[in-house]
Structure formats: C-alpha cells, structure tokens
C-alpha cells in the first residue's frame, strides 16, 4: 500500500538549527523542501565539498593497490558515525600525502615526456661531431640548421655559394648549410623554394650524441623516481578504508549543510518545510523534542496541486518485490501500489520460464548465500530476495515439468547420457514426480495452452484489481464499465470459444452449450457496456457510441496481451533444451574406450558441465527476471497502475562505503 504523507513545517531557533538537523538526519524521516532562494555561497559547504572531491581522488588513486575485500565480505562494512568521524583527521593526512605523490607523479611524467621528445628530435643528428653550441653565426659566416628533403640535395649542390653537410641518408635529411654573411639573404630566398624546415638545437652541452646520452641518464633517473613514487602510493593502499570512512563522514556533513540553503530564515529563527510519512510523524516530533522545547511543529495533509513523494509499505514477504516495481516506476501518490498483487504472479511466472529443479536449487542457494554474506541493501538486496522466491518457484515448476539440470525423462532414455544421468532420471521416476504434470517437449501445445491460461488469469486479475481500487474510491461507473466489462469480454470469449481454440491446439475439449452460451452472452454484455458507456463523459450520443466502438477495438490489445505469454513457454523450452544440449555435448567426452582417455574425458566432462550449466542458469535467470518484469509492467500494470510517483529522499545518512549503525 502507499503510505500517506504529511506536509510538516517546523519553526525553531537558529541556535538549535545544527543540532535539530543532525537529529533529523539520524532519524532520516523528513524530506526537506526548498522554500528559499539562496544564492549566497556558503564557505563551509564549499570547504566540505572540496574535501569530498579530494578524498574521492585519493580513493581513486590508491584503489588499485588496496587489499581486495574478501569474496564473502558484506557490500558495506558496519561503522558507527563516531567511528567514521574519527577517521577524518587520519584520512586528511593520508590524502595530503597522496595528493603530494600524485603531484610528483604527474610532474615527473611530464618531465619524462619532454626528455623523450628532445631525445627523439636529436636522434638523426648523432653523426654531427661538433658541439651543438659551436654552430652559431660569426661576423663572416652564416649557418642554416634544418631538415631538407633528400630530393632537393642536387639543387643545394647547384648553389656554389653554399657549403652543405648532411647527417643521414633518409628521405628527410638533417642538414647544416654555411655561407658568407653577404649571401645569407639569397640563401633564405632559395630555401623557400625547396622543401626545408628550420631546426633549433636544444640548449644542451656537447655533441648531439653526448646530449642523447645525458637525456638517457635523465630518463632513467626519472623512471627510478617514478618507481619510488609508485611504491609510496602502493604503501597507501592500506589507507583506503580510512579514506572511504572519511568520505562518507564528509558526505553526511555535506548533505546536512546543503539543506541549510533550503530553509527560510528570520532574524532569530529558521523555518523548515518538508514531507514525512504519516506513520513517522511522532518519531520526528520526538526527535525534535529531544533537542529543544522551543519549537513549533505542524503537520497537515497534502493539498490539491501538491505532489507528495510516493512511498510504499508492505509486509516482509512482499517488500523485496517493491524493487521490481521501482525498476518500472513508483506509483503516483494517492493511487494504488501494485506490489502485493504482482508478487504471487511474479513468483509463479518466473519459475515457469526456467522450470528446472536443479537450476531452481542453484538460484535459491546462490541468493541465500549472497544475502547472508554480502548483506545487500536497496536494489540489489531486493532483487536477490526476489531471485530466492523465483528459485523456489523454479524448483516447483521443474518438478511439474520433469527437468533436473536439463535431464528429462525423454532425454535420459533417447540420448545416451552415461550412467549417472539415467540414474538421476530413474530416481525421480521412482519417486513418481518426473514429470509430475507434463513434459513440455512431448506436449508443447498443452504447455502453450497452460501458459496462455495463466496469462488470461493474470490479465483478468489486473482488471479486477483496477475495479476494486475504483470501487474503493467510489467511482463505481469506472469500475464496472472500464474494468469489469473487460473481465466479462475476456473470460466470456475464452470460455465461449474454448472448444474451437482447444481444437486448433490439437486437444479438442468439448464444453456443453450450457456453459459456452452464457459465456458468449456475458461477453456480449461486456461489449455492450463498453460501447454504451466508454464515452460516458460525452454528451452527444453519436460521439458517445463512436468512442465506445473505438474502445471495443481494445479487444485486439487484450488478444496481443494474451499471446505475449507465449514467451513463458518459449523461454522455458529454451532453458530446458540448452541444458539438454550441454549434457549431450559433455556426454560425448566420456565416450572413449581407452581407460586413460575415459578418465581425462570424465574430468573434462565434469568441469564443462559445471561451467556450462552455470552459464545457462545465469543467462536464463536474467532473461526470466526481465521478461517476467515486462509481463508485470505491460500486461498486468497496464490494466490499473498509474506510474510516475516521485522518490522519497529524506535527509539521512546516504553513504557509499559504510553502513552507519548506532
């Protein structure tokens, strides 16, 4: 159900503001609304945010060197607020050092790049045996240093006032030209006509060869320094927990500080407006009272035009499925929470899409261990619990359809699967539960019919939930004409035409006329209700009937909805057949007659079976999860659900790495 919300307003003294906000944040019950436009930059908030930024950079820098959390470690470690606050000074110190190291690192890297590029530029000049600084213009002689294309060398040779020296035999040649000072201008003009690029020697001593050696020594030195810096960074890997704790502590502060900008102020007092759950009002007031007596706390119901956040509350069993609903959208405030109605169908249909006892057991075990050790919360916590129930349903459907890790009665007898598999099949057969209901591979049409049947049940349930909701709101017209009419049409048509439909599916079932006739009449009544009352808001009778006839066209979308449940069958078959194929492939490995090969093959067979079945259960559980969710969102929620509710985000401890405990 959707929790009713109250608008709360609190007026209290500014001197109590910080302690009240702290207490409210600990309680996590009030979502603060922005009632004041404050453009003043608060230096305290800026400082906290800068610290958060710095801590986050430090965490990123040392994360690769941190000890990996154990495979079974909880997602978030449990810490007290005081515990993480105490880590802040230590973290600041570590962040200082890490920042310094990062700075050194980037500085060294830049130096190294620069040295490397100089070295690269000098490389072609190694054959120059004179010191680079010696090549400079004198009053009599002008030098040109540059790179020319080798094809232009003959042209240079033609200029008799030029003396040239080349240092490589490549396509672009490092060249030094010398001429008399008075010819310098001519040479410049000449150089413009050929492929020539000026080159400037770096300011270094010695010949290019010596300079390159010096650069190599420098790069080696930088590399050594980089290595030390790296080692020092690695040594900080242990600080990651402290850094993360401090990050969360600062995040908590930042969130509380940012709320200050949303409050209204008078000279001595502050005003806080917000939303709180109606069942947490008392707790909220207690929290405030524990800080001060000087306050005014008022609550009222939401008014027209206000859109309170939407929170749903359900019993412990249904709660995890709220996450499935949230994946789609929260319900609009004041409408209906679909979770309790969707839950049984979700479990039922999920299992049908996997329908394998072995896979179901794996899912149950996996999600159980995940919840036990990782202690997930929020979305992943909800979904892992949903998968547990889905796994249970998969086990049940696996028994009904007779499949255990892809071993079915038929596959065990027709495909030679080695002793173990047929023993498993025989074991289940002796228990009389293999399959208990039917094997979908042997009777595909009956299985498909069963899927459609469940779909019809699901769709009709959707209409009925909508009808009950509308009755509850006093809108009996909408309940009868928009919802129940469709129940009549859907069920009436299905029952009325059941003999024909079952005939098409190859298992003709005759129903007596005394059943089919009333069903068809009911469908007719439903259709008449839609035609006459769908457009009841319209005054003009002609428009009203046209709108009604248009409404009747929705029967096609109901048909499409029902056909959509074919996926239950198809995905179930896919899981089963792929499992069988994997068994068959692995079985081929054990076929050797040579005993040594047989042992090797047997080991390979076991390893492959584990890997392949894990893959199959993973990919098909993902498929089942999402396809099942889709059936809820489109086929079921389409009949009654109003999406678009806003998330309730109270001022609370929103941490990333730790779970704050008392």
């Amino acid at each position: 159900m959707i929790v009713s919300m109250k608008r709360v307003s609190l007026v209290a003294l500014k001197s109590d503001q910080e302690s009240i906000l702290k207490a409210l944040q600990e309680a996590g019950t009030v979502q603060v609304l922005k009632i004041a436009e404050s453009d003043s930059q608060d230096p305290e908030t800026d400082a906290v945010n800068a610290r958060i930024q710095r801590l986050s950079e430090s965490i990123g820098a040392v994360k690769p060197y941190a000890k990996k959390a154990g495979f079974l470690a909880p997602q978030k470690r449990e810490m007290t607020l005081q515990g993480i606050r105490d880590d802040v000074p230590k973290a600041e110190e570590a962040a200082d050092e890490i920042e310094e190291l990062l700075h050194t690192q980037s500085h060294l890297t830049a130096e190294r790049e620069k040295a490397l590029s100089t070295r690269q530029a000098l490389e072609p000049w190694v054959r120059l045996s004179a010191p680079m600084s010696a090549i400079k213009n004198t009053p009599r002689v002008h030098y040109f240093i540059g790179v020319c294309a080798s094809k232009d060398q003959p042209k240079i040779a033609e200029q008799d006032y030029l003396e040239a020296e080349y240092y490589t035999e490549t396509a672009s040649v490092p060249t030094i030209l010398a001429c008399r000072e008075e010819d310098a201008r001519n040479v410049q003009n000449f150089l413009k006509t050929i492929d020539w690029q000026d080159f400037v020697f770096p300011k270094m001593d010695g010949t290019p060869g010596e300079a390159i050696e010096a650069l190599d020594r420098k790069i080696a030195g930088i590399d050594a320094e980089l290595l030390t810096t790296q080692e020092q960074l690695e040594a900080h890997g242990d600080a990651i927990e402290v850094l993360q704790n401090a990050f969360d502590a600062e995040t908590i502060d930042s969130e509380r500080l940012s709320v200050r900008n949303d409050l209204g102020y008078t000279a001595r007092a502050f005003v806080l407006e917000g939303w709180a759950r109606s069942d947490e009002i008392e707790k909220t007031e207690q929290v405030i009272r524990s800080v001060t007596d000087a306050y005014s706390f008022e609550t009222r119901d939401p008014e027209e035009g206000e859109e309170p956040p939407s929170v749903v509350r359900n019993n412990k069993f249904v709660t995890p499925f709220e996450e499935v609903q949230t994946l789609y959208s929260r319900p609009t405030y004041g409408t209906i929470d679909g979770t309790p109605y969707m839950t049984p169908f979700y479990i039922l249909l999920f299992g049908l899409m996997l329908s394998d006892t072995g896979y179901g057991l794996l899912l149950m075990l996996g999600s159980l261990l995940y919840v036990k050790f990782k202690k997930p919360s929020g979305m992943s916590g909800g979904i892992s619990r949903v998968l547990f129930w889905g796994g249970l349903s998969t086990v049940v459907w696996g028994v009904l359809t007779g499949s255990f890790f892809g071993i079915t009665k038929a596959s065990a007898s027709t495909i030679e699967l080695g002793g173990v598999f047929s023993q498993i099949s025989l074991f289940f057969e002796r228990l009389g539960i293999f399959p208990m209901l039917l094997d979908p591979m042997q009777n595909p049409m009956i299985m498909l019919g069963l899927c459609f049947g469940l779909g019809i049940l699901h769709i009709v349930a959707g209409y009925i939930v909508g009808a009950i909701d509308k009755f509850g709101k006093g809108d009996w017209k909408a309940a009868v004409f928009d919802q129940l009419s469709w129940v009549l049409i859907t069920l009436g048509l299905v029952i009325g035409f059941f003999p024909a439909i079952s005939g098409m599916a190859g298992f003709s079932i005759e129903l007596p006329k005394s059943v089919t006739m009333p069903a068809l009449i009911a469908a007719g009544v439903g259709a008449l209700m839609v035609v006459l009352f769908k457009g009841r808001a319209k005054k003009n009778p002609l428009k009203r009937v046209t709108s009604g006839l248009g409404g009747l066209y929705d029967v096609t979308s109901v048909l499409a909805d029902i056909l959509s449940y074919a996926r239950l069958f198809a995905l179930g078959i896919a899981t089963g057949v792929i499992g069988q194929v994997f068994n068959m492939l692995c079985n081929m490995l054990t076929g050797a007659s040579n005993p040594v090969l047989k042992v090797i093959g047997g080991v390979g067979c076991v390893i492959l079976l584990v890997l392949l079945h894990t893959f199959n259960v993973a990919i098909n559980a993902l498929g089942a999860f999402v396809h099942c969710a889709r059936l809820q969102y489109v086929e079921f929620y389409g009949k009654f659900y109003e999406s678009g509710g806003k998330e309730f985000t109270p001022l609370s401890y929103r941490t990333k790495h730790v779970r704050v405990s008392d």
């Binding site: 198809a570 792929i578 194929v581 990919i619």
Partner: protein, 160 residues
C-alpha cells in the same frame, strides 16, 4: 543427391548462422558502448554487462533451433529418421522453412536490440540508477525473437 538431408542441414545452418550473426553484431556494438562508459566509471561495469548480454540470447535461440532440427531430422545419427528424411525431399524443405522465423527474426531483432541496449548503456552513464528501465526497453525488442523462436520450435516439432 539426397535433397531431404541437404535441406534439413541448410535449415540448421541458417538458424544458427543468421541468429548468431545478429547476436554478434548486437553484443559487439553494446560492448563498444560499455567499454566507453566503463572507462569513465568502472563501477558501472556490472550494469553495462547485463545490458550487453541481452542481445546475446538470439544466438542461443538460433543454436537451439539448429540442434532441435538436427536431432529431430536424424542428422545427429538416428538412422531411421535419417532414412525417412533422405527418402522425402519435402520433409527436408519443411525443416528448412521452419528455421526461417528464428533465422531472420533473430538476426534483425538482435541488431535492433543491440541498438536499444546501446542507448540504455548511455542512459546508465548519465543515470546509473535507471539501468532497469534500459533493460526493460531492450527486452521489448527481444519479445519478437522469442515469438520467432516459438514458431520455429512448434514447426520443427510438428514435423516428426
């Protein structure tokens, strides 16, 4: 020439081949998009991986139909079935036709599902909490691959 067996083989080939190509393209483009997002934010790799997996199922459906055709037509060694197939070209053609829905439905839906999943991955980059919606959008496309699979499957099972 035993055309029956050749037609049936062609059916198994085209189912696995085209659906496989589609999935390869779909998973390929989503993989590229994932790599881009993960390079910016490695924490999102799990969510991106789930989205990348979605266009991969068509290839599995194609494989499934291929194997069902092979086992039902006797291509996997059932001598009586194979003899019946070789004696009857029409039977082989029926296997071939039965493979077409998943071959083409799988090919095209996998590519488009990949494109939707790429958009979903881009959405995850901006709003990591909304990955579920991206998955639902991608699964809408997969519906048609599932329907193709269903028809191919029922047709193959209707033959023998």
């Amino acid at each position: 020439m035993n055309w029956g067996a050749i037609w049936a083989t062609a059916g198994a080939v085209i189912a696995a081949l085209l659906a496989g190509i589609g999935s390869a393209i779909g998973v390929g483009i989503t993989g590229q998009a994932s790599a881009g997002v993960v390079s910016e934010n490695p924490d999102l790799s799990g969510k991106c991986l789930l989205l990348q997996l979605l266009p991969g199922t068509q290839g599995i459906y194609g494989l499934l139909i291929a194997i069902v055709i092979m086992s039902n037509s006797g291509l996997m060694g059932d001598a009586t079935k194979l003899a019946a197939l070789q004696a009857n070209t029409a039977l082989g053609i029926r296997f071939f036709l039965a493979s077409l829905p998943i071959a083409f439905g799988g090919l095209i839906s996998a590519i488009y599902q990949g494109k939707v999943a790429v958009s979903g991955i881009n959405m995850v980059a901006k709003k990591p909490t909304e990955s579920g919606k991206g998955m639902v959008m991608a699964i809408m496309v997969e519906t048609y691959a599932v329907l193709s699979l269903l028809i191919s499957f029922l047709l193959v099972f209707g033959i023998m």
